[in-house]
Symmetry: C2
Subunit: 208 residues, 2 copies
Amino acid sequence: MRVVKSAEERKNEILDVAEQLFASKGFDQTSTNDIINEIGIARGTLYHHFKSKEDILDAVIDRITGTLMRQAGAIAADRRIPLLDRLTGSIMALNVDSRLGEEVMIQVHKPQNALLHQKMQEGMIRGIVPILSGLIEEGCREGIFHTPYPEEAAEMVMIYSNVAFDELEDRSPEERMRKIQAFIFHTERITGAEEGALQEAILRIFSK
Amino acid sequence: MRVVKSAEERKNEILDVAEQLFASKGFDQTSTNDIINEIGIARGTLYHHFKSKEDILDAVIDRITGTLMRQAGAIAADRRIPLLDRLTGSIMALNVDSRLGEEVMIQVHKPQNALLHQKMQEGMIRGIVPILSGLIEEGCREGIFHTPYPEEAAEMVMIYSNVAFDELEDRSPEERMRKIQAFIFHTERITGAEEGALQEAILRIFSK
DNA sequence: CAGCGACCGACAGGCTGTCGGTCGCTGAGA
DNA sequence: TCTCAGCGACCGACAGCCTGTCGGTCGCTG
């Protein structure tokens, strides 16, 4: 049967299904047949809306990173919140909640999803680093942070949290806690914050 | 024509060709046909020696990371060299020379080679982090470094250098220099070294 | 000369992307 | 209000790849 929808509606429908399948099986293991069978459209329709399978992946990632960046950006720009809390808050916004990409985030780390992971990481870094480095610069002017390399500092923090927390899934709770503690400690050192300052900010967020 | 070789010889022949092809075209873009045509063997022969295409990739990566790790390990263990020089030396051994994997290293960063890149990174981290963290612990005992998290410090330094220097290829020389300076600066901060200490060690290496 | 293991190549089954053609919807003109 | 042309969403067969399998061959060695 032939059901016509607007291009935008159909595109989103494809992205929804693709995101779900990529998340549960990985990109390589998901065939375009899986996608079109799930939706009930023909091969031609899929390729009418997207020029390749990888094009679909890119669009899925754009949607997710866009959402994450908007959330992080909103926190970073909210001047009612103390600066340190904005920094920790926007980093945490990337690794936790975010309803939309949640499933993807869980599966993203499997070895099979290398392309997904890499593209996502690239997109995140491009989008988030400027936000974080803005916060760090602001902190330098306020005397909270001290570093001649705010941008690279942001980059280092982002990259580490992205890669290292991937392998956290299958660790013991103690190990996880240690890694997180270490991450906070190193972020303080890199940004030149006072020791324990970020730690406090994080406790402040959780106590709410 | 039928040429019989020992299993080991044939395996290495396959790995040599695969490494070269993966490096120049990427893993996904290299078909098993490319490999067997280049060597002049049949499909069955390839699958007699390796159980899958990915198995070949794993073997290629093992060879490369093994070589790099041996080099870095040798430097790290050479007690005739000052500790700081051993640290910088073993990190540098991973990103520069290494004749064998050179071509691969150049192409590894292309977006298409995501799987190659990720597997390589994982292997490197697993192998190098213990070496570096050993050096850092040693430095802590000597009073050169100061950190409660030597292992995570090593991890952070390794991950960053692996990811961030990927995108360095297409930057201006000034930007590169800045990134490298920043990396050294942050490594000092993370390890709790005196500011400028690593910088000096690196200059010492290059001046030879 | 037997047996092992390196080697062969046809084949099954799956994949992506293409292309000529169909059909529903919309809006302009009668 | 009716008609009809054109646009764009949609279809599905097909070409041309791909990986991995399997029964069988043949060289070497003891």
